[in-house]
C-alpha cells in the first residue's frame, strides 16, 4: 500500500477561478482532465450516432437510407472521430487526472501547455465535423487516408489533413508533458519500479506518441503537397509509389493501436488488484511486457498490407513479428488471471468491466493472431472479420476499460458514489449488446462479406440484421451510461477518501474530490504492502 506522509495542505496563491474562464484558461490538471473526458464523451456520442446510421443502412440488403458516397463518409468519419476524438482524448483525460495524483505531483510538468493540448482538440474537432457541410461532403476514403483516393477528393480532404495536423500537435505536446511529469515529478521514494502500472503504461504510450505522430504528420503533409503543389510522392508516373503512403501510415498506425490499448491495460491492472484484494501478480513482468509490446509495435506495421503486395521475405518477417506480440500480451493476460487466483473477489461495476475486458480483449487478440497469418489474412483482408477483430480490441478492449475506469475513479473525482444498480445494468447491457453486434461479424467476414459497403448479398442478411439490432441496443445503453455519470456528478452517497477497500494507490489518500491543488509539497512514499518487486515476497 502506498501511504502518503502529506504535509499540511496550504493553498496556492490561486484557487479555482469562477465561471467559464476556469475552463478556458485552466492550468489545473484536474480541470483539464475533466475537459478531456467530457470532450471525448461528446465525440463518443457523435461518432456513435454515425455508427447507428451505418447499422441502420445495413439493417437490410439494398440501399435503404444513404447513397454509397454518403455511406463511405459515415464509416470514414466514424473511425476517425472514434480514434482521435473519443478513445485517445479520454485516455489522456485519465492521464491528466490520475498521473499527478498517483505519483504525488502537484500538477503536470507544463500546466499551460497541458491546457493548449486540450484546447487544440475542439479546434480540430470543429474542422473535422465541418467537413460534413462543405461541397462534396465529408472525407470518404476510409480513416487510413490512402492515396490515390485521398488525393482526388474535395475541400473536406484538406480540412481533415489540417485537422489531423492540429491533433498531432496536441498529441505530441500532451505526450511530452506526460513523459516529463512522470520522469521529473515523482514524489521522493517513488522509484520507477514502484510506480503504479497505470503510470508505467502511460509513460510508454507517451513515448510511442512522440515517436509516431511526427511520421503521420509527414505522411499527410506529402498527401497535401501531392494534392496541391504538384509533387509525385504517391504517383508512379513521377517515380513515387502509393504503397509508400501505406508504409508511412502504418508505421504510425500500428503503434497507434497500442497507444489506444496500453493505457487501457493500465486501467485494468489497477482495477483487478483492487477488487481481487491482492497485489498485482508479476508487476515487473507486466512492465517488461508493456515495453516489449511497445517495441514490437514498431516492427509489425506491414501486416496491415499483406494484400498490397510485398516480397515473400517481407510477408514472413511481418507475420512472425506480429505473432511475437502474442507472447507479452499473453504474459499480461495470465498475470491478470493469476491476480484473481484465490483473491477475495467482489463484482462492483468497475470490476465487471475489467473482467469483461480480459475475456473479450483476449478474443480480439486471438482474432488478431488469426489475421497475422499471411494466407488467412489474404482471404480475410477487408472483410467483416477484420471489423469484428478491431472492435473486439477497441470497443471491448479500450472503450470498456475506459468505462470501467470511469466507474472506478468517479467517486474520487466527484466525491459521490455512482448508482451501483444503474452501473451494473449499463455493464450487462453493454457487454451483451456488444457481443450481439460484433460476434456475428466474424461469421460474416469468414463467409466473405466485404467491409465499407452500403449494400450486400442476400445470404448475409440475417447476421446483419442481428448485428444491427445489437448495435441499436449498444447505442441506447450508452445513454444510460451518460445518465449514470451525470447523476453521479450531481450528487449521490458521499464516497469518502477510499471507497474501495482493496485500492492502494496514492490518490486514495486524498479527499474525494481531491483538493484543487493536491500534493503541493510532495509526499514521502513509504511502501507498506507494495506492488513493487522489492516487497512482493
Amino acid at each position: 500500500m502506498y501511504t502518503a506522509d502529506t504535509a499540511a495542505h496550504h493553498d496556492h496563491a490561486h484557487g479555482a477561478p469562477r465561471g467559464i474562464m476556469r475552463w478556458l484558461t485552466s492550468t489545473n490538471h484536474k480541470d483539464i482532465g475533466t475537459l478531456y473526458l467530457w470532450f471525448s464523451l461528446f465525440m463518443f456520442f457523435f461518432a456513435g450516432a454515425l455508427a447507428m446510421l451505418i447499422r441502420a443502412e445495413l439493417f437490410q440488403p439494398g440501399l435503404q437510407l444513404f447513397q454509397p458516397a454518403v455511406f463511405n463518409q459515415l464509416t470514414t468519419m466514424h473511425g476517425l472521430i472514434m480514434i482521435f476524438g473519443a478513445i485517445m482524448p479520454s485516455l489522456v483525460g485519465f492521464a491528466n487526472w490520475q498521473v499527478p495524483l498517483m505519483i504525488g505531483a502537484s500538477d503536470m510538468a507544463f500546466p499551460r501547455l497541458n491546457n493548449w493540448s486540450f484546447w487544440l482538440l475542439p479546434a480540430a474537432g470543429l474542422l473535422l465535423i465541418a467537413t460534413f457541410f462543405v461541397p462534396g461532403g465529408a472525407i470518404a476514403g476510409g480513416w487510413t487516408m490512402y492515396p490515390p483516393l485521398y488525393i482526388q477528393g474535395g475541400v473536406a480532404y484538406d480540412m481533415s489533413i489540417l485537422a489531423i495536423h492540429i491533433l498531432g500537435i496536441s498529441s505530441i505536446m500532451g505526450a511530452i508533458n506526460i513523459i516529463v511529469t512522470i520522469l521529473n515529478l515523482r514524489a521522493p521514494g517513488m522509484t520507477l519500479m514502484k510506480m503504479p502500472l497505470f503510470v508505467w503504461t502511460w509513460l510508454i504510450t507517451a513515448f510511442l506518441l512522440v515517436a509516431v505522430m511526427p511520421v503521420l504528420a509527414c505522411a499527410i503533409t506529402m498527401l497535401l503537397t501531392d494534392r496541391h503543389f504538384g509533387t509525385h510522392f504517391f504517383d508512379a508516373a513521377g517515380g513515387g509509389d502509393a504503397v509508400m503512403f501505406q508504409h508511412l501510415f502504418w508505421f504510425f498506425g500500428h503503434p497507434e493501436v497500442y497507444i489506444m490499448i496500453l493505457p487501457a491495460f493500465g486501467i485494468v491492472s489497477t482495477i483487478i488488484p483492487t477488487f481481487a484484494r491482492k497485489p498485482l501478480f508479476g508487476y515487473v513482468s507486466m512492465v517488461y511486457a508493456v515495453a516489449s509490446i511497445a517495441f514490437l509495435s514498431f516492427i509489425v506495421w506491414a501486416h496491415h498490407m499483406f494484400t498490397t503486395g510485398m516480397p515473400v521475405g517481407g510477408q514472413l518477417f511481418f507475420m512472425y513479428t506480429t505473432m511475437l506480440i502474442a507472447i507479452p500480451t499473453g504474459v499480461k493476460v495470465f498475470n491478470w488471471v493469476a491476480t484473481l487466483w484465490r483473491g477475495s473477489i467482489t463484482f462492483e461495476t468497475p470490476m465487471l468491466f475489467a473482467l469483461a475486458f480480459v475475456f473479450l480483449f483476449t478474443i480480439g487478440g486471438f482474432s488478431g493472431l488469426v489475421l497475422s497469418l499471411v494466407p488467412v489474412d489474404i482471404q480475410l483482408q477487408d472483410t467483416y472479420y477484420v471489423v469484428a477483430h478491431f472492435h473486439y480490441v477497441l470497443f471491448s478492449g479500450s472503450a470498456m476499460a475506459i468505462m470501467g475506469g470511469i466507474y472506478y475513479w468517479l467517486p474520487k473525482w466527484t466525491g459521490h458514489m455512482y448508482d451501483e444498480t444503474l452501473g451494473k445494468i449499463h455493464f450487462w447491457l453493454t457487454a451483451i449488446a456488444f457481443n450481439i453486434t460484433f460476434f456475428p461479424m466474424h461469421f460474416l467476414g469468414l463467409a466473405g462479406m466485404p467491409r465499407r459497403i452500403p449494400d450486400y448479398a442476400l445470404q448475409f442478411a440475417d447476421f446483419n440484421m442481428i448485428s444491427s439490432l445489437g448495435g441499436f441496443l449498444l447505442g441506447a445503453s450508452q445513454l444510460l451510461f451518460l445518465y449514470t455519470v451525470i447523476k453521479c456528478v450531481r450528487g449521490g452517497a458521499p464516497a469518502g477518501n477510499k471507497p474501495w477497500d482493496g485500492a492502494d494507490t496514492l490518490e486514495w489518500t486524498q479527499t474525494s474530490p481531491p483538493p484543487y491543488h493536491s500534493f503541493v509539497t510532495p509526499p514521502q512514499i513509504k511502501l507498506v504492502r507494495g506492488r513493487s518487486h522489492a516487497n512482493a515476497r
Binding site: A7, F110, W116, L120, A123, L162, V210, H232, G240
Partner: protein, 278 residues
Amino acid sequence: MQTHAEHDVYYVPPPSIWPLVGSVALLVLASGFVMLLHKIAAGPYVMALGIGILLVMLFGWFSTVIRESLAGKYSDQVDTSFRWGMVWFIFSEVLFFAGFFGALFYARILAVPWLADAQMLWPGFTAAWPTAGPGVKTVLTPVDAWGLPALNTLILLSSGATVTWAHWGLQKGRQFQLKLGLALTIILGALFISLQIHEYGEAAFTIRDGIYGATFYMLTGFHGFHVMLGAAMLTVIFLRALAGHFTPGRHFAFEAVAWYWHFVDVIWLMLFVFVYWL
C-alpha cells in the same frame, strides 16, 4: 532521503489565456489555408490573421515565461522539466525528418527500381537516380554537391562552432564573447538561408519534377524552414543576452536554442550526404 524543506514547491502557473489564443490562431490559420488552396479570395487575409494571432500568442506566452524566470519562480526541478521537454521535442522533430528520409530511401531503393522492372507499364524506363519518374518528361540536372551545398555545410558547421563559443563565454561570465558569438551565429544562419534561396533560384528542376524534385524540395525546404525558426529563436536569445538575462549558472533558454541549432546542423549533414552527394 530528502526532507520536505529541501524541496522547493514546484511552480504551477496561474490561469493563462495564451493556450486558448494559440488554439484560435491555429484554427484561423488552418481555415485560411484551406480557403487559399481552394482559391477563395479571403484566404490569404484569413491566413494572415491567423499568423498574426499566433505571433501575439507566442510573444505573450514567452514574455510570461521570461518574466516568471527572471522573478526566480523556477526551481531546479522546473529547470529539469524544461530540459526533458526540449529533449523530447527534438526527438519528435528527429522522427519528423526520419519520415521524409524514409520516403527518400524508399523511393530510391525500392520504388524506382520496381518501376523499371515493370517494363509492360513503362517501356524504356530505366532505374537511375536522380529521376523524374517514367511519366514526367524532364531531364534532371541535380545540384552539384561540391558547389554551394559544400559551402553551406561549412557555413552551418561554423555556426555550430560559434554558438558553442558563445556558450563558453556565457559559462565563464564573458558577456561580450556571448553576444559576439550569438551575432556571428545569426549572421551565418542568415547567410546559409540566402545561399539556399539562391540555390533554389538556380536549380534546373522544380518540386513538380517527379520523385527527385519532390524529395529534394521537401527535405531541403523543411530543413530551411527549421533553420529560419532556429535563427528567429537565436535572435530572441541575442536580444535577451543584450538585456543581460543570462547568468553563468542559469541560462536554459540559451542552451535549448543551442541544442536546437545543433539538431538542425546534424539534419543538414544527413541532407548533404543523402540528398546532394550520394
